[in-house]
Amino acid sequence: MTFEPLGRSLSDFTVELDVYSGPYEWLLALILKDELEIFEVPLRELVESYLLSREPEAANGLERDTDFAGSAAALILLKSRTLSPALDAEAEGGEEEPLSPEELAGRLTEYMKIRRAAEHLRARFASNAGHYPSAHVVPPRPGRLHLRPERISLAARQAFSRLLEPPVRHLGPITVTLQQLAGLIRAALAGGPVSYESLTSEMDRLNRAVAFAAALSLAQEGSLKLSQTEPLGPLTLEPSG
């Protein structure tokens, strides 16, 4: 579908429709670019609008009328093609059987009801227009949940409480006390920060575990600070203060 060039004779013709308000030429352009449905354009209102603005005495009056008639005819053709009934699969390739009066009455009855329902809907839309819902949509803030320390302690106790004593047969006899290792750590820290690895490099597995417990205990009482730059990374013991 193409429109003949209008020759700008209708450049001053503007239309006021529900679906569009502005120059007629732009209306045609929007329809051609599929940005406005021809379906939604009331052609009768369009013609009436032109008749109201018609200037038969103008120098280019005849040219305007001709251009409008040409473009309006194209719009009618376009709309009528768009409105063509959808092809039923059963009707394709053959003559569609004419409907009996009863069948036609049935279809018209159904359509009549839908028309009434459409009128009812129009009134419902009109009476409910102008309601704007709350725009105060607060986005969720991940990671900013309110935490209660006592709930975390309880959860930790539950998670780490052991119902069964772990097997200790693989462990040798404990030959060192927590206090002894705490003293050892304090002495090592007198010279500055020390890594847990170097501190325990000469120890057996059991002593390393007790040394770790001693370090945690000292950190809890504030005697030292533990720092670890990344999970499972090297652990450094630093004198506090």
Partner: protein
């Protein structure tokens, strides 16, 4: 700031304020920790406070829930502030398609076109873009499994309806006398051409 615990109506009001969509009564109760009875009483209290004649905000019971929205009497000011024109009214064709989806749906685009007697695809497309119509499934009994169309929550909100049951039954919209007149007219026109 007061240390007093908030009243039930305040809790419901706060939750409604931060939701652009209608919230069901049960969701309100769940969010506020109120009982069903307390939620009901809170909503009744808010309905009174947000009556259209006394507030620029109104409480609406639409689309299966409750929502706060602006009073339509204030729509002009809201539209000027937002620098938005009110959406263009729907065409007659659009209303018919919505009526098909509401009363006969879910149904396919082809079914809509058959009821209306004209191709309705373009109108359907426009209504889907406006959020009033949506594809709710597929018709597996038809070759190609075409999409089934139904009305949306936005449609119910725009028509001020709590649910599709809020609309009058389709059969009640046309009187038996009117239907009889159509049948008579068709029958008489069908026999006019016949030889006496």
């Amino acid at each position: 700031m007061s240390d007093l615990p908030p009243r039930p109506a305040h809790l419901v009001e706060a939750v409604l304020l931060v939701s652009a969509r209608p919230i069901s009564r049960s969701d309100l109760a769940s969010a506020t920790g109120l009982s069903e009875h307390e939620t009901e009483a809170a909503l009744a209290s808010l309905a009174e406070r947000y009556a259209p004649e006394s507030s620029g905000i109104v409480l609406r019971n639409v689309a299966g829930g409750y929502s706060l929205s602006t009073n339509p009497n204030c729509a002009g000011a809201v539209e000027r502030f937002r620098e938005e024109a009110r959406p263009a009214p729907l065409s007659g064709a659009a209303h018919e398609v919505l009526a098909c989806a509401l009363y006969l749906g879910p149904l396919t685009r082809g079914a809509v076109s058959r009821v209306r007697g004209v191709n309705s695809d373009a109108v359907v497309r426009g209504l889907i873009e406006r959020g009033l119509l949506t594809e709710v499934g597929t018709d597996r009994d038809v070759p190609g499994s075409p999409a089934l169309l139904g009305v949306t929550e936005g449609f119910l909100a725009a028509t001020g309806s709590a649910s599709p049951e809020d609309f009058p039954p389709l059969d009640s919209l046309v009187t038996p006398e009117e239907l009889d007149r159509v049948r008579e007219r068709l029958t008489s026109s069908g026999t006019e051409g016949e030889a006496p």
